[in-house]
């Protein structure tokens, strides 16, 4: 079982801080307001623990509905794969979209809302991955974002079914003027994870040695 020492966890958290800071800048330009970021939380956890972590981080009540935006990224070499998830409680997400689309909040995700969420996911997850790719020293290509809404347990079943350890790198995003709280999570398989950890350590080490 892989374990993270304190320095490695710190380096990974700082990597996600850089990535989400970059994403927040672009997202704030899209929504035209400030996006507040939480301090990144990093842990290696069994996949089955993802749901309670996400519920706690997004303030989800039992049975509440969630909006899940997912993009799969892969390095050109094929040696690093990750599923990037952007998660919002559905109610807050619909309010955010109403503001983005300049119209009253829809009762559920329609075609227009899904289209807008695709753009939100595209901006946040891709700008985040661009910065991560620099640290991983890999060129990463992504699938199109997949948008889903439903009860949290059902919606996240595919992410929690992996059975193995996953990297939980959770960062909260909150729009300053609204009660909209999102969570960005990266799920990696063990091989990708080990290589990613190696690359993150090398990034911080190499920067020190090169200067």
């Amino acid at each position: 079982m892989l374990e993270l020492d304190e320095d490695t966890r710190d380096a990974i958290a700082e990597t996600f801080n850089l990535a989400l800071g970059h994403a927040a800048l672009h997202f704030s330009e899209l929504v035209n307001e400030e996006v507040e970021l939480s301090v990144p939380q990093v842990a290696l956890i069994p996949a089955a623990e993802l749901l309670p972590r996400i519920a706690a981080a997004t303030g989800l009540q039992d049975g509440a509905r969630l909006v899940r935006m997912a993009q799969r990224f892969q390095s050109r070499q094929g040696d690093i794969q990750t599923q990037a998830l952007l998660l919002f409680a559905e109610r807050g997400c619909l309010d955010m979209l109403a503001r983005l689309l300049h119209q009253p909040a829809a009762p559920q995700l329609g075609e227009l809302e899904r289209d807008a969420l695709g753009e939100v996911a595209n901006v946040i997850l891709n700008s985040c991955m661009n910065r991560l790719a620099e640290v991983l020293d890999r060129s990463m290509t992504g699938s199109l974002p997949q948008i889903g809404a439903g009860h949290a347990a059902q919606l996240l079943a595919q992410d929690t079914a992996a059975g193995a350890q996953v990297l939980w790198a959770g960062v909260g995003m909150k729009l300053a003027d609204q009660q909209v709280q999102g969570q960005v999570v990266f799920v990696m398989d063990m091989d990708s994870l080990q290589l990613a950890i190696h690359q993150v350590r090398a990034y911080f080490g190499m920067v020190c040695e090169a200067l």
């Binding site: 304190e6 320095d7 710190d10 380096a11 958290a13 700082e14 801080n17 850089l18 990535a19 989400l20 800071g21 970059h22 927040a24 800048l25 704030s28 307001e33 400030e34 996006v35 970021l37 301090v39 300053a176 911080f204 920067v207 020190c208 200067l211």
Partner: protein, 128 residues
């Protein structure tokens, strides 16, 4: 480039990430070999360290547990208005920039690099 600093020049590096503090101090100490470096892992600790041992330059992360960097900088400024504070953040949003500007802070964007270290070192008091 090595810059000779005034004797007793101290820099306080504040970041909740230990690897970032280590990296910043490593890069800055090569540019300011005569300076002394202090560090703190959050805003509250930074104020406490500064109260105990004042510094001329504070390199302050923005997004930390507890109070954020601008708030911590304001508390340090209340102790000594002459201190130079560099706000270091991965979050370059307009709202953060405006907050830093309003507080009279220098704002620089991460990642921590040699260029960034050059910019910070240029703000340290030099021998004339």
């Amino acid at each position: 480039m090595n810059t000779p600093t005034r004797p007793g020049t101290r820099l306080l590096v504040v970041d909740d990430s230990k690897v970032s503090r280590r990296l910043a101090i490593s890069l800055l100490s090569k540019r300011l070999p005569d300076a002394e470096f202090l560090e703190a892992g959050d805003g509250e600790a930074a104020v406490a360290v500064f109260q105990q041992t004042p510094a001329q330059v504070v390199v302050m992360d923005y997004n930390m547990p507890g109070i954020h960097g601008v708030e911590a900088a304001a508390r340090i400024r209340a102790l000594d208005p002459r201190v130079t504070v560099v706000l270091l953040t991965a979050n370059g949003q307009a709202a953060v920039r405006a907050r830093a500007e309003e507080a009279g802070l220098h704002m620089l964007c991460k990642p921590i690099s040699s260029t960034l270290a050059d910019q910070i070192a240029a703000l340290a008091p030099v021998l004339v």
